[in-house]
Every structure is written in structure tokens, then in C-alpha cells.
Symmetry: C2
């Protein structure tokens, strides 16, 4: 008998009909003799509806109260899902994040899990019940206030709970059949990946693949928990995320997949004094505003001006804040101006095999050149190459790279769509 | 500085605009230097919407999960109300029934409060915050499951919390200006009652006056907590419920008000053997079905048949269950048939003064007779007379009695409407 944790996103439970379908799937897993814990997101658009109500009441809702409000969403979906399972003759009990022992920091809207004490979940399983747990939420260790986990919260709840319960597997149900070698909307012959290491999945998630959230993958890697991404509309096996690069056989495929990202913008700081400490001063301003940056490039100062330009990328959402913070520090840092460009795209190639194959970068750049894609910034890690190009050239870049590394397959892909939080 | 508990029903918080109005009213009370605790119901029709969702998922939703689902309603309204208060520059924190220490029995859908441990509420008040508490809900002492209190739950939450905090007053905000001498929709010159004893209010509530729930009044009486019923749309003082009949001055008005009730039905058990124990057998059947009855009348057996008819009234909702239970016991009890009549109405006259005024019953019956109302059943308590008549005659009965006891006033009444749970 195995212990399985399943996570269903908001689109999988968006109405009564889908909730009943999910209930059947859960009962099937239970019938096989498994202990089943289910983590569920809020129904479809219900979170947006609650946010809209909050906006009607206050232009800047109090974070503590916003968390209290939003957690009503999972409360509704989990109770309905438990009812639907009970209706099929199996016992199910729903638990809030607090009841399930999801102990977090007190940062409302973006709390971190610091402990998981799933005594009540264990108790429900011992009595033969399916435990349904609200994703995305917890309770702060110090204030005892209700918290939410921010982006990717429900995936993280599922992984953290599975790790605490030492589950055999954590299944993330979504509306795609698994992790693909590229976005099938751009690359029609994109291939579903059977199995992938945590490191590769982390690089793909960090590079814009939306199917799994970075935090959840990191958590699973630390716990050595096998993670399976699969569709809630089919019985296909999906993609298993497990194992370390170190354990990969030598004949492992060179490259795993191509990811892309349209969510970033580029800021260029013009004519910065080319002296030690100037880049540090710029990034200190960004860090103080609590923003994260992705790629950085500093131009070589060819002229004798003693000045240089520094460009970096960051999420578009943070663009205005970063621009305002830098503008305020202009005199202090001594740059001449700021450029803002939100028409960029990023294409990334990920594969554990590229560590030992020096020719990968050359093939990658040649493929882009032949497709007429101009590289604006390039950055690499041990198992990833990323370049920034024009957003209008992004689809062509993804296709060219996918083809150059012969990543295509025969299996028909189900079209990708956004997944729940 | 006083400690005030305010309770707002579902219609008072049915949308963002009304929530903001209620927030202003709360801030006004806070500005006067009061500590304020607010108990709030779910927004308008949101409970019905949740029930509808449950019905789509399961024909007979599991009671534990139904309570989990419904409590999302107050969670939403209380968080929004706290946001609206925060927005006005005052600190407010919302608390679920569980967080507020509403400890109950484990009977889902109809739990009873067995203890109130408002440590977190006290803490919020000590720090200068307004505490917003979800009405209608609690947590079971033994199972730790979330419970709901059933009908009148939010009023009861407010009174129980006020008693536990030894509040100076508990204000029940509703959509009428207070308790009236009769329903103003039937009697246009009905007078708002300034002050009324717990006993009289209990009799009025039990006789069909919907403005306050019986449970809440009983709880307030036991705790000696002054209760004020007032409108959330005006600044009128409303009606103060306080004090015992024993403390009333001699010159206290004879009669307080007229209540009516259209929610009952009458069952007649025909030709029951007129022997000791036969009535007991009938009511044992009703009790076993967990139904409550109101009035009972046993016909005098005039004939030598040794048989008699027994009639009783009960809530219409319980009618089918009672009929089925009696029909099953027909042979055992030995009656000849059952009659069911749901076209009855009940008019009740309540007043502490009638204890010492023997002429009240005579005036009451004469007024009804002059209005052409036929009395079918009559029952009395120390401070109440009730009669059952045809439902079509009920309005005339209420008007006639109200006029006969000169209960009318000059103050214009705001039209009565249903109040939240």
C-alpha cells in the first residue's frame, strides 16, 4: 500500500462537474489500496472574484485580511470535493492549511513553510479517510494569523505535505500531459519528457516553463520526493521528476528541452562611471526595493570615456518600481540616463548532458543565426544556455533550437494552457 | 470607556457599498472611545449560493463538509469588513469562530455553544484594534471540526461573545428600527417599543416575531446582558431588551405587543381511545422523530364512545415527517385517522402586566369575536395569550387585538423585512 499525494489546480475544479470528475479519479486511486491525500486550489476564477471584491472595499487591502479573504477560496473547493467523494461511498475529510499543520512565516501573501505537522491528516488516513487539504495556505508560527504562500503555493503545499508524510509519490495534476521538450503551441512536434532530473526541471521552471513552480521543485529535490506531472483529463503517465544529474547514465540524451519566457523586461543604465563598486551600487538600489533581477550584461568600455553601460533583465511587473528607484539614485550613482525595453523574449536550452559536450553553445548560436535571430544578452549555467532576443523573434528562436537539437517526437501533444496557482 | 459588541446581519453587508457603510458606523463607535467587537453574517445571498453549489455536487452533502463550506461565507464578509475599517485609518482584525474561541458541541449544522474563550479577541482589543468575528460558526470541543450554530446563529454568537467579554451592551443591527408592538406591514400605527424585559421578548420571539432569535434572547437573559435591537440604516435608539418582570414598576404598561406566526400547521389525531397514556403515546412518536410541537388541545369526549380527538400544532416544515411517523404508529396507538391543516395562523398577545390583570383574556377574545375571527385553539402562559385561527383571518386578528389594547403610536415605522441568519 502506497501513500500518494495528489494536487489539483483551479481549472481542474472550476465547477461542480469537474469536481465530480476529480472525485472519481481520487476514488480510483483509493480503490487501488492507496492512502490518498489531496491538495486542492480554489475553483477556477474564484480567487480573482475575491480580489475584485477586496478592490471594491479598499484600494490597498490589509495583507492580513487579504489572506483571510483569499483562503475562503480553497475552503469552498475542498469542502465540495470532500462531499463529492463522500457521495461516491468513500470517506473524505477536508482540512484547512492550519488544520493540516502548514506552519509558515508571517509574511502575508508570500509566506514560507517552516514546519509541517500533519497529525490530523495522519489521523484521517489511519481511519481510512481520504484527506483533502487546502493548498496555498498556512498559519503563521508566531502570530497564529492565516497566511498564503504566494505564487506556486498549492504545488508547494502538496510537495511539503508529501515530504512530511514521506509519501511514495506526489502527483501534480494539471491541464497538460506533462513536461514537454518545448511549448507545443509554438513547436507542434514537441515531445513529452518521460523522466527528468530535479536540476533540469529547476532550470526549465526558472526559464519560463510554467507547468511546475520553482519552489515546489526545489522542495521536492531537498526531500528526494518523486514528483509526477500529469493531466487531470487523461490517464497518460505524465512526466516523472526524480533523481540527480550525478546518477544519470553516460548515454543519457544530451538535451532535455527548450523553455521560453515573455515576462521579462530589460533596463539599461547608461554611461555609468567605469570604476569598482558602480555595478554594486546599482544592484544595491534594486535589492533595497526588494526586486529580483535575472540576467546582467556590462558593456566593454571601448572608448577612453571611462564610462560604460549596464543592462539587466527583471520581471515586467517589477519594471516601474525598479525604474523609479534607479531614477531617485541617479545623482548618487552618477549615470546619464535609463532605457526601458519590455519587448524582449528569452529562450533557454536545458540539458544535463551539455556539461560534457562543449559543442552545444556553438550549435545553439548557429541555429539562432540561421533563423535570423539576433542575440542581445547571453548567459549560461552548467546545464543551461539562455539568450535574450526581440519578443517578435521568440517563436522562431524556440523552433530553431528545438529542431537543431532534434528534440521532436511523434506523440501528439495536448495544447498548453495556464495552470492554477 | 465601554465595551460594545455589535452584530450585523447578511443584508447589512450584502455588497461592498453596504460593507463600507457598516465600517463607518463601527468607526463612529470606536471614535467615541469604545472598545468594539463586531459579529458579522455572510454577505446577502452568499449562503444560498454555497448551498446551491453543494447541491450540485451531492444530493445529501456530508454535514461536516457542509459546515466547512458554509463557514467560508462569514470568512469573506469579515475580511472585507476589516479591510474597509483599516481603510478608514482604524485597525481591525478578523477572527473565525474557532479563533474567537467559540467552543461548541459537535452536532454539525446545529451546534450549541458550550464555552467561549475569547483570548485573541481580548488581545486585539488591548492593542486598540476592532475585532471582527465570524458569526454562526465555532469549533467542536471534542472533534476539533468546524461547526455551525444553525438558525439565529449569528445573534447567538454576538450574545455569547458579549457575555464572555462582560460587554456593556450587545447591539443587534437589522433592517428595522427595533421591536414593534405589531408587524408594521399589518398594523400601520404599530409603535416601536423603547424597552422590554427578557421574558416578554422571549414570548414575542417564540410567538413569531422574527427580529430576534429565541436562543440569543435566552442567552442574554441568563447572562443579564443588555441587548439593543436597532437599524443599520438609521441612528434611532431601537429597542433595549433588559431587566426582569420582577423589577418592573407597578405602573408599567399592561401589554407590550402582538406577535403573529404563519409558519405552523395543525395535525388532528381522530378517535383516540380516551384512556390514560394515549396522549403520551402520540407525543412519544413525535418526540422520537425529534420534532417539537407548540400547542395541544384535547377535545372533551362528549359521546359515550370512550374516544376523543387530539389536535396539536407544529412547524409546517416538520409536518410531513410527523404525519409519516404517526401513520406508522396507527395500529399501535389505535386512532382512526389523521387530519392535516396548514392554513392556520397564530396571534399572540404578550405583556408582563397581564399577570395581575384578569380582564385581559376577556378583552382579547371579545376583540377577536367582534372582528369575526373564530378561535380554534387557545393557550396561555403567565404573560402571553395565543390563539389559532384561519390564516386568512390572521391580519384582521392582529389589527383587532392591537387596537383593543390601544398599542398604537405616532412614530412612523420602517417596513419590516426578513433579517439575516
Amino acid at each position: 500500500m502506497a501513500l500518494v499525494v495528489q494536487k489539483y489546480g483551479g481549472s481542474s475544479v472550476q465547477d461542480a462537474e469537474r469536481i465530480k470528475r476529480v472525485a472519481e479519479r481520487i476514488v480510483t486511486a483509493r480503490k487501488r489500496g492507496n492512502d490518498v491525500v489531496v491538495v486542492v486550489s480554489a475553483m477556477g476564477d474564484s480567487t480573482d472574484e475575491l480580489l475584485d471584491l477586496a478592490a471594491q472595499v479598499s484600494p490597498l487591502p490589509h495583507p492580513r485580511e487579504l489572506d483571510m479573504l483569499l483562503t475562503a477560496g480553497e475552503r469552498i473547493s475542498m469542502a465540495l470535493l470532500a462531499m463529492a467523494i463522500n457521495n461516491l461511498g468513500y470517506e473524505a475529510r477536508s482540512f484547512t492549511g492550519s488544520q493540516a499543520g502548514m506552519i509558515t512565516t508571517s509574511k502575508h501573501g508570500d509566506a514560507r513553510i517552516i514546519d509541517v505537522t500533519p497529525g490530523r491528516i495522519r489521523g484521517a488516513l489511519d481511519e481510512g479517510a481520504v484527506a483533502i487539504v487546502a493548498g496555498f495556505q498556512g498559519v503563521a508560527q508566531d502570530t497564529k494569523n492565516i497566511t498564503t504562500l504566494g505564487r506556486g503555493g498549492s504545488d508547494t503545499t502538496a510537495v511539503a505535505l508529501a515530504a512530511a508524510l514521506t509519501a511514495d509519490e506526489c502527483e501534480i495534476y494539471t491541464d497538460v500531459d506533462g513536461v514537454f521538450s518545448a511549448d507545443p503551441r509554438i513547436v507542434p512536434d514537441a515531445r513529452r519528457i518521460d523522466q527528468i532530473t530535479y536540476e533540469e526541471m529547476l532550470e526549465l521552471a526558472a526559464s519560463g516553463a510554467k507547468v511546475l513552480h520553482l519552489r515546489a521543485v526545489e522542495y521536492a529535490r531537498r526531500s528526494g520526493l518523486p514528483l509526477r506531472v500529469r493531466s487531470s483529463y487523461s490517464n497518460k503517465p505524465g512526466t516523472l521528476v526524480t533523481g540527480s544529474m550525478e546518477d544519470l547514465p553516460v548515454e543519457q540524451a544530451l538535451i532535455t528541452g527548450v523553455a521560453h519566457d515573455r515576462s521579462e523586461a530589460k533596463i539599461t543604465v547608461l554611461s555609468v562611471p567605469d570604476e569598482p563598486g558602480q555595478a554594486a551600487a546599482i544592484f544595491a538600489v534594486i535589492a533595497e526595493a526588494e526586486l529580483n533581477i535575472d540576467m546582467i550584461v556590462q558593456n566593454i568600455s571601448t572608448k577612453d570615456s571611462g564610462r560604460t553601460d549596464i543592462s539587466f533583465t527583471l520581471p515586467k511587473d517589477d519594471g516601474p518600481t525598479a525604474m523609479a528607484a534607479l531614477q531617485k539614485a541617479r545623482d548618487h550613482i552618477g549615470f546619464s540616463g535609463l532605457l526601458y525595453d519590455d519587448h524582449i523574449g528569452k529562450v533557454s536550452l536545458v540539458g544535463a548532458g551539455m556539461r560534457s559536450h562543449p559543442g552545444v553553445t556553438a550549435t545553439f548560436c548557429k541555429a539562432l543565426a540561421e533563423a535570423g535571430v539576433n542575440i542581445e544578452i547571453i548567459s549560461t549555467s552548467e546545464i543551461r544556455i539562455s539568450v535574450v532576443c526581440r519578443d517578435t523573434e521568440l517563436d522562431a528562436a524556440v523552433s530553431a533550437v528545438h529542431r537543431a537539437f532534434e528534440l521532436g517526437g511523434q506523440e501528439e501533444a495536448v495544447i498548453y494552457a495556464g495552470t492554477g496557482r
